[in-house]
Assembly symmetry: C2
Homo-oligomer: 310 residues x 2
């Protein structure tokens, strides 16, 4: 049995890397820049070189490494083939085979959102559960589904793409995906900022938002301070978030939904705004789904990537 | 290796039973009545007696039976505990343990809709696929999710309860579950009949529905005959069906959706009405999900129950 494992989370700006023991303790974590030039051809060689350097530095032999887990920003099929990763300049190829040939170490690759979900289940907000959905409320809305401890990858690597489920009829503005009424249009940081702008334009009373940047943080700071407009915006946001969660919980009947991403920093106050719509919309048998906050932040992908090979 | 397996599908009126070879060929199928009196306490003893009689008749020893698979109308957790089965009079108990103690044969139990999905994957419309969602458009809308050949049971046995996902805002009529705008309110046989009634009340031109029973069959017979009102109703129904399918496909990214139940008897014409809304609403990466018709009819549960133990 090997003692170590690498977790690698490849993002558009930096690659987050971690050397962990196989029980999930971080020995060391570090970052390298993501070199996207020439269709990102340097990214995996850079990762391989960084791993080789770390093994030399720590005097760890490759025999004592269980493998390298990798999270990438794009759809990945179960055999490690990325379909495309626009943010990295990558087209379609087998990431597992490429990194294995560079390092001689077994590699497993997953979509970054799915891998982060696995990380939160293993060592984060979803610890103790085996079937969870992680929902990342960031610039967009990402998702990862874990069933009995395994990622639901999907037929084309797009399992858990919950940001684009339809949650609202009659929306006139288009989502980035071309759809109308996508979950992401309301439940993301961008979505809250948009809702805030729309509400503010119709608001004549005093509000803290008048002199603030319109952001999820400003809205929830306002909610905590009792600002009337912010509370209205949070209700609107919560209605869509709760409806989206209800659809997810009704289909999958998970033990828990784990909420991460920038918006989740608002904390427990979020629950007050989405729980009424959730309870009102979810099928009763699925209604006791736990609602938990993610705890690993930017390290979730690194943990989850490592778990992928264990 | 055993040569035989039993598949048992317990319904509110009859229990459908099958003796199959382990490669999935039916040796014999038969039915016994479902005796619901005294909280359904006779149902499993009746099943056990029927199995014992069949084994004697066919001169098959219990050692040569891989097991008994059972489908029941209610939520069942992975360990075989039914939470309740209102149609049978049952409360909460472990079906596996009960039938094993009655027969001495290993038993596996699942929810009837989930088990039917497994059957369609094994020997029906979903043959050749490993990750499918079966949607049963009957009196209500039932569902079963199969991921990598395994039923998605859910934390409380309610996985795949897609009949109660929210698909339409602003609905005033309540669903049987108490919700408003549930998939089942539009996409079931009952739902189509209701839509037909609403449309007919506002219709002044000639239509075949004037002298017909308002049913899914009447509507789709009318569609095939070019009836203008029936086409309007089918469009309305198709809009909701397509939106529901899109949400399911976007979350799960299955290889295929298999459509069963009474409404599916309308056949390929259904596709014309739900595919536009599906294509318009689904996340692009999940849009190549195959749409297939179920082929096993009432035998799906028996096949799937048998597959449960194999």
């Amino acid at each position: 049995m090997a003692d170590y494992v690498f977790g690698v989370d490849i993002g558009g700006t930096t690659v987050k890397m971690g050397l962990l023991t196989t029980d999930g303790t971080i020995v060391e974590k570090w970052e390298i820049p993501t070199r996207k030039e020439n269709k990102g051809e340097n990214i995996l060689p850079d990762v391989a070189a960084s791993i080789e350097a770390k093994l030399s530095e720590k005097k760890i032999s490759k025999d004592n490494v269980a493998g390298i887990g990798v999270g990438v920003p794009g759809p990945v099929t179960a055999d490690g083939v990325i379909q495309r990763a626009v943010n990295l300049g990558w087209g379609k190829f087998n990431v597992n085979e490429k990194l294995e040939s560079l390092t001689g170490i077994k590699t497993m690759t997953g979509n970054d959102a799915n891998v982060a979900a696995l990380g939160e289940m293993w060592k984060g907000g979803g610890m103790g559960y085996k079937s969870i959905v992680m929902v990342t409320l960031g610039t967009g809305v990402g998702g990862g589904i874990i069933i009995d401890g395994k990622i639901l990858t999907g037929a084309t690597g797009a399992g858990g793409e919950i940001g684009h489920i339809h949650v609202k009829d009659g929306e006139e503005k288009a989502c980035g995906c071309g759809g109308h009424g996508c979950f992401e249009q309301y439940a993301s940081a961008t979505g809250i900022a948009r809702l805030a702008g729309e509400h503010l334009a119709k608001w004549s009373k005093k509000t803290v938002l008048t002199d603030a940047d319109l952001s999820a943080k400003a809205v929830f700071d306002g909610v905590k301070a009792g600002d009337e407009l912010c509370i209205e915006i949070a209700k609107d946001f919560g209605e869509c978030l709760g409806k989206g969660f209800a659809v997810i919980a009704t289909i999958l009947n998970p033990e828990a939904i784990v909420i991460g991403g920038g918006v989740s920093k608002a904390g427990e106050v979020l629950m007050d705004y989405f729980m009424p719509a959730f309870k009102n919309t979810v099928f009763a048998d699925c209604g006791n789904c736990k609602m938990l906050l993610a705890t690993l932040g930017n390290d979730a992908g690194m943990y989850g990537a490592a778990k992928l090979v264990l």
